[in-house]
Symmetry: C2
Subunit: 339 residues, 2 copies
DNA sequence: TTGAAAGCGCTAACAG
DNA sequence: CTGTTAGCGCTTTCAA
């Protein structure tokens, strides 16, 4: 049925070793004549090698896996694009899965990837499989953690400076003259990103001369509707809030919805800065100021780092790359012109 | 180094055949006692099977591939989610790649997937590798075409009714009292979706009593900025246009941008309906009426169909599933209340 | 109820 | 310059 390297060898009247050599570019030692003959036969028989067999023999698949935790946020699409582009450039193929923020799923997928002998894994961790991450590290298995920091884990990380991102946002709001600045954040004790953004909010506020008592931190459940209701409730209780710093792009949309339902004007009555640049941010009314995270870069760098690690002769020290967020100023923060 | 089935067998004092049987659930014929012993050893040695070896032997990988053509549009994220969920449910893993709308990339990726022995492929085709698609079909290779129709190709398809989608939009606009209705579309002769949406526009307009001369079809190059400029130019030439039907979600954002630059009010001066429901549509100002395509469903159905095809004993006739679009009415079309 | 042996398609050490 | 040979880790017939 399917044509194998044996078929080619037989037809070309050589051994499969020779064919294999041609296939893999080791024809420094082969006659031009036999090479051409083999190439002809390959074309003629429409032969293509079985990479599964090759992988079994060579003990490497040239596949990496990526474990995402959320396929609903376009942010991840951009990360994925960076990873995919890098795989293409470096001759790897990509397996993808989605833990959906569930630790059990995450564990299962990681084990599956390993059984499939992927050469390494990029992972946005749920941060609830600490023993597993530690085991990967101590087994010296190639993997790179992205987006979220796993505390105490000695492994490659590619993250964005969330404290800095929050500070950019809060400083900008304060300098634009806003006194009462609130932060909205999803409730999730495991995830470093959100804690860090709140921390950045806190430090920037204090830095700007506010007292701890001035901090307005609103935690909401992740899930549809909850945020909009929370904003409405919050702003009714604290009608003098002048600015909101939103720590998530989806959350931002819900917050704006709540603000509009209250018939408040942005930015006149209340300013808002969102986290994560999106395709739609500039098209909102008013255009939304955002903290842009270099998502594509994160994808590229993590994949590159992983593949470098895979091909490293001797093991390296875990490296942490911290990417810089950037404030994209538009009208929603009320200071578009006067930064 | 790595523990294999042989190691387990040796340690448990049985043959690897027996271990293999346990692993694969064929222990109808095995003593409870030996089974437990083997299970213990497996746990003790932390053994996990090498799926590459298993795949080589069993001639199937339990992996499917998906070839996307664009990783920038969130629409595909939703499709991907459907595919991924289905893979999880059905015990498959997923490989992903992005042709980036380039036929050569598409061809290379498909061949790579085949060399990797993926059991089947879901593909959003560039529609410019006709010979390749035909060959896959005649080789009886399992694959499912999604989103775009490949003319003359006898293969499984999962598509959305684009003519219908356009008709929904245009009918709605006309019934809301708009006379001069224009359609905007990307220039790409290969892709059926866009041609069909224009066709739906045409048929709906004629159906509603307009003459062929009343049709206003504006083709624009796909690429940043081009659309916004095109809209501005177009509306300056035809200031009496009362409605625009946009055939793509990204395009819609650019069109709205152009309209706003001209200081026209939506929907008072000009109504707009966009294609594809998005997370941001309801948050635009005014909220955007869209033609919703069941993207998640497309992902689920195509993956299910593919896997069914993979496991079919005897070959089936190519099946085409046509999904129904749905109009989501919001304020931008100027008839939110009075449908 | 269990095991021996063959072999999936490929690579590479070694020999000629 | 080319071929022989021995596996990679697993499944599966066939025999015991």
């Amino acid at each position: 049925m399917k044509v194998t390297i044996d078929d080619v060898a037989r037809r070309a009247g050589v051994s499969k070793t020779t064919v294999s050599r041609i296939l893999n570019g080791n024809y420094g030692q082969t006659t031009e004549e036999t090479r051409n003959r083999i190439l002809d036969v390959i074309k003629e028989m429409d032969y293509s090698p079985n990479i599964v067999a090759k992988s079994l023999k060579s003990m490497r698949t040239n596949v990496i896996g990526i474990v995402l935790s959320n396929l609903k946020n376009p942010y991840w699409m951009t990360v994925l694009e960076g990873v995919e582009d890098t795989c293409r450039d470096l001759g790897y193929n990509l397996m993808i899965c989605n833990s959906d923020e569930q630790p059990e799923m995450e564990m299962q997928y990681i084990k599956e990837f390993q059984m499939r002998q992927v050469d390494g894994i990029v992972i946005n961790p749920t941060v609830r499989n600490m023993e597993l991450y530690a085991k990967l590290a101590s087994d010296n298995y190639p993997f790179v953690v992205i987006n979220r920091k796993v505390p105490g884990l000695s492994a490659h990380h590619v993250v964005v400076d969330n404290v800095k991102g929050a500070e950019l946002a809060v400083n900008h709001l304060v300098r634009a003259g806003r006194k009462k600045v609130a932060v909205f954040v999803y409730r999730n004790p495991h995830v470093s990103t959100w804690a860090e953004r709140v921390e950045g909010y806190r430090s920037a506020m204090l830095e700007n001369g506010f007292a701890p008592g001035d901090l307005l931190i609103c935690e909401v459940e992740q899930g549809t509707g909850a945020t909009t209701e929370a904003v409405i409730r919050f702003l009714r209780q604290q009608p003098d809030v002048e600015a909101i710093f939103s720590t998530n792009n989806m959350m931002t949309l819900d917050i704006i919805k709540g603000i509009k339902e209250l018939r408040l004007r942005i930015p006149d009555d209340i300013a808002i800065i969102g986290y994560d640049e999106t395709v739609w941010a500039q098209h909102l009314d008013p255009p939304l100021t955002t903290v842009m995270q270099p998502a594509y870069e994160m994808g590229r760098i993590s994949a590159k780092m992983l593949i470098k690690r895979i091909n490293a002769k001797r093991q390296q020290k875990p490296e942490t790359v911290v990417l810089e967020p950037q404030l994209i100023v538009r009208a929603s923060c009320g200071a578009a012109g006067r930064v």
